[in-house]
């Protein structure tokens, strides 16, 4: 039997689940298909949970500002604790060129109305007591940024979307996408046949493969990152600490103390390790702990509990690809989140819902322009 939907989302992750919620809230018949066994089992659960609006471009800034509204009001609105904390982000700098770049960037951020300020090394030491202040020039501090539990948040979105009538099918793999009339598709999976008016490609690591089913070339290439989490202790520092310097073997790394009191940390290998490989390597722990202890020696007695490996589905310029495909206006990409799917998800989910209900506003159009597939990908993000 062929099943009919208004919207079928491919991928029950950081983007697919909040999108399903927003679409179901608009009373459309929506199905989410995922090849794994439950929501968020690919890269969502690998995310460390940082959420910031302090990016450098209109698209990400506006999307994440809306995400922060959703994350921060969720508990009051629906009652579930998703671990939201407004603990802020900080980018401590240890050399003059980074200081200069960061201060330049802050000007752009202020122009978007973002709450971010420069603080001195002494002030920073109060926020992150015991931080290495040798050569510390100061830090940016954006106190309205924050964090939440990707695990709790995604499950909260998932259960809420079920209440609004969204449907999910797990352990199901999409095999074929067939354009039918101008505004509909047939989908063949390993289990079912479907008809749908819209398809949303939220397939994360596999976005490129899904695009290829319609001969759409999506420049999304996953690379591997490893992360870890410690035992919980009483809260001893506030913001996400992002050290953006490069060292042999790694680019930036970052860590924060989550709502449970556990320190979560992650590092960007340099050069990137491309592909999809979830098996842990012996390199990560020495690489990341060495850098963390250099900047924050106090962490040395904190016990590491678990580590894991996940992917950033990267685009060439570090910005996502979101919006209707030029050849197929009812095939909508929401891909290439470059490791920021969790923070972009709730905001993007609403925009995706407005695409399928033709309710896009001016701001949405402006955001989507930044994320346009047909943009020039040679530009690079200012600070990732």
């Amino acid at each position: 039997m062929i099943k009919n939907y208004d919207v079928i989302i491919i991928g029950a992750g950081s983007i697919g689940v909040p999108a399903a919620l927003a679409i179901a809230q608009k009373k459309l018949k929506v199905l989410v298909i995922d090849s794994l066994s439950s929501p968020g089992q690919a890269n969502n659960k690998k995310a460390i949970g940082g959420i910031r609006a302090t990016h450098s471009d209109y698209g990400k800034v506006k999307t994440c500002l809306r995400s922060i509204e959703i994350f921060s009001s969720w508990k009051d609105l629906y009652g579930d604790d998703i671990g939201w904390m407004s603990n802020g982000y900080s980018f401590p700098v240890y050399n003059e060129s980074d200081e200069k770049n960061l201060k330049e960037l802050m000007k752009i951020q202020h122009s978007f109305g973002l709450k971010i300020k420069w603080i001195t090394a002494e002030e920073y030491n109060e926020l992150v007591p015991g931080i290495n202040t040798e050569n510390l020039k100061g830090s940016s501090y954006s106190w309205e940024d924050g964090s939440a539990s990707p695990l709790l948040a995604l499950n909260a979105f998932y259960f809420k979307s079920l209440e609004f009538g969204a449907e999910y099918s797990f352990q199901e793999t999409v095999l074929e996408l067939k354009p039918e009339k101008v505004d509909s598709f047939a989908i063949v999976t390993n289990k079912n046949h479907y008809h749908t008016r819209y398809i949303i490609n939220a397939a994360g690591n596999y976005a490129r493969e899904i695009g290829a089913l319609l001969n759409i070339d999506l420049p999304v290439y996953p690379d591997n990152h490893e992360a870890g989490i410690t035992e919980p202790v009483k809260r001893f520092f506030q913001p996400m600490v992002v050290d953006m310097r490069k060292r042999p073997g790694s680019a930036n790394y970052y860590f924060y103390q989550n709502n449970e009191g556990q320190v979560v940390f992650c590092i960007t290998p340099d050069p990137p390790i491309t592909g999809i490989d979830n098996d842990a390597t012996s390199e990560f722990l020495p690489l990341c702990s060495g850098r963390m202890i250099e900047i924050y020696p106090r962490l040395s007695n904190l016990k590491v509990r678990r580590t894991w490996r996940g992917q950033y589905p990267m685009t060439p310029d570090g910005f996502p690809v979101v919006g209707p495909a030029p050849e197929y206006p009812n095939f909508i990409n929401a891909v290439g989140m470059c490791g920021q799917g969790f923070m972009l998800g709730p905001g993007l989910g609403e925009i995706l819902a407005r695409i399928v209900t033709s309710e896009l506003n001016e701001a949405d159009e402006k955001i989507l322009k930044n994320f346009d597939l047909q943009r020039d990908f040679s530009g690079m993000e200012k600070f990732k």
């Binding site: 066994s37 439950s38 929501p39 968020g40 089992q41 659960k45 007591p129 015991g130 695990l151 709790l152 995604l154 499950n155 797990f170 410690t230 035992e231 919980p232 202790v233 009483k234 001893f236 009191g261 490989d277 098996d279 842990a280 390597t281 012996s282 390199e283 722990l285 020495p286 990341c288 702990s289 060495g290 963390m292 202890i293 020696p297 106090r298 962490l299 040395s300 007695n301 904190l302 016990k303 590491v304 509990r305 678990r306 580590t307 894991w308």
Partner: protein, 694 residues
Amino acid sequence: MNKNRITEHPILTVPEQEEITFYWNSRKLKARKNEVISSALFANRIKIFGHHPKDGSAQGIFCANGQCAKCTVIANGIPVKSCMTELKNNMIVESVEGLPELPELQENPNLKHIETITKAVLIIGGGPSGLSAAIELARYNIDTLIVDDKSALGGKLVLQTHKFFGSVEDSYAGTRGNDIGKLLAEQVRSFKCVEIWTNSTALYVFSDKKVGIIKDGTYKIVEPKVILNAAGAREKFLRFKGNTLAGIYGAGAFQTLVNRDLVKPAANLFIVGGGNVGLIAGYHALQAGINVVGLVEALPECGGYKVHADKLKRLGVPIFTSHTVLQALGEESVSAVKIARIDKNFQPLAGTEKTFACDTILIAVGLEPVAEFAEEAETAGIKVFSAGDAKEIAEASSAMFNGKITGIKIARELGFTKENIPDSWYEKAAVLKSEPGKITCYKENISQQDVYPVIHCRQEIPCNPCSTICPTNSIKIAGNPITGLPYYEGKCLGCAKCVAVCPGLAITLVDHRLDNEHPIVTLPYEVKNFRIEIGDELICTDIEGNMLGKYRVIKVSDLKANNHTQLIKIKADRRLADRIVSFRIQKDKLSTPAIETAEKVRIDETEMVCLCERVTAEEVLKLIRKGITDLNQIKAITRAGMGPCGAKTCDNLIKQLFRQEGIPLKNVEKNTKRPVFIEVPLGRFAGEERGDND
């Protein structure tokens, strides 16, 4: 010295230890030098080490094996696992109340380069199978590294005070487990090609074919050609109301406290599970001067060897078969246990509940292999073998033999030998791990004249010391040379060597030569703290503990002779002499159900499945009933499995909940396992060099 110390033991030597001082929540207390913090606390009658940040529940010892973090305390300002951290003189130890604070550093850590070491063979686990394999590898001079997380080699052999079964030739049958451990360790230490790292835990076999190991507090990377996973087994836990009170833990933890650290963690013990582990733990408790109030086993018969069960029954410990534990009672620590009879579907029968006062409940409901290192090695593409309990749960005698076979297999794999393993070895390996056979009746062919051994061994188990030791070769084995039942045929000199050697204490000697009507019966005995003297009147029992009347002791052998098995001679009655095997030592009163206890204490109805993150069965059931079949989603929502132990305990309990709900496990998505095996301070991965005990 502290009251909760074992000061004398029939088997173990109690060493003279220097006394040191420490502080527990500002109280000045005494301890023994070189002991771990948890044992020092138990010796000072402290069972509660802190309270959980989530629900304020009392925390204390659970695995005593470094695997969980339930025993965490703050030592000199730093949260540590008390079961793995040596106490230092004047150490300031505090309970963990809620989340601990991370202290500020006194000085910046001194970071060094992390050493990478290549080895032909890495053996994870220095227990019976790992050591036996190392001995074979050393025959070919193969560059081998053994890592073991304890301070002494021998694995769980170190904790075994009883004489071993198995075969004399292949697995030291008749010798006590702790002595076997020492023999193997000595042998392995004599080889130059075998490097030994104690206090060292393997953390993970990474995908780049490297193994992360924390060596006595310093992080090392080892690159082996072959890995032998000889990491043993972990104990399963059980779901019942009140299962998280302090004083509920595994039999392995108990044996560590009692037989390694010589502390008395309990006064009155109740045991859940009648496999060999539970039965032996009960016997060890009696040897340590701890009362065993009772033992429940869900099946109609104990799964362990009949000789082990009988030893307990004869000394006066009731074994309740077809019973289950319903509930642990107590405020923060156990003060009583409630059990009930169960029907054939394992459902409790109303009206059969009994409550017993006790202060500790041991859970001995089975073991499961520590399989993760082998799985990780396979993923990484390193050739890996498993031996001992890590391969298949069986007796240590079997572990030694299959360790030996595996050692030769590894030597073959590395091209050091073309030696073939004879088929007969595999047959023997199968025999050594065989389950106990059915129980047979006595053979009624005893002459009741002169002197002769009475063999009370009525169940086929792999064991043969009696037939090996008899100087006139008059104890023979029917059928299979190891598992067959022994019988007496021939000439008895009355030397009683068979009585002293039998691991099951199931041979007696009946001597009619002095007085045909009142023969002298020689009985084996191993519980020193309940001292037997000449002239005592003993309530004698048959093999299963049925009372046969009172008889007087006429001779008691020296404790040190006969490998710590005392021989007690009693003057018996001709009619019953052949049936007497032992005598009661424990009073009936101890095991009399208490009626009042249940009402006196707060009733905790919680059945916990994840002790680390305090997740109840009810919370998980709610999700299962919503249709969730992915253990990872249950983990994401409840945090069950996200704690320090890494789902080592809750995984099984949650799977049981699925089965209970009628969901076959093949429809349940498995929990993803990730590094690291145990929690390790971040600084160590950065190359900080520090002994864990500094």
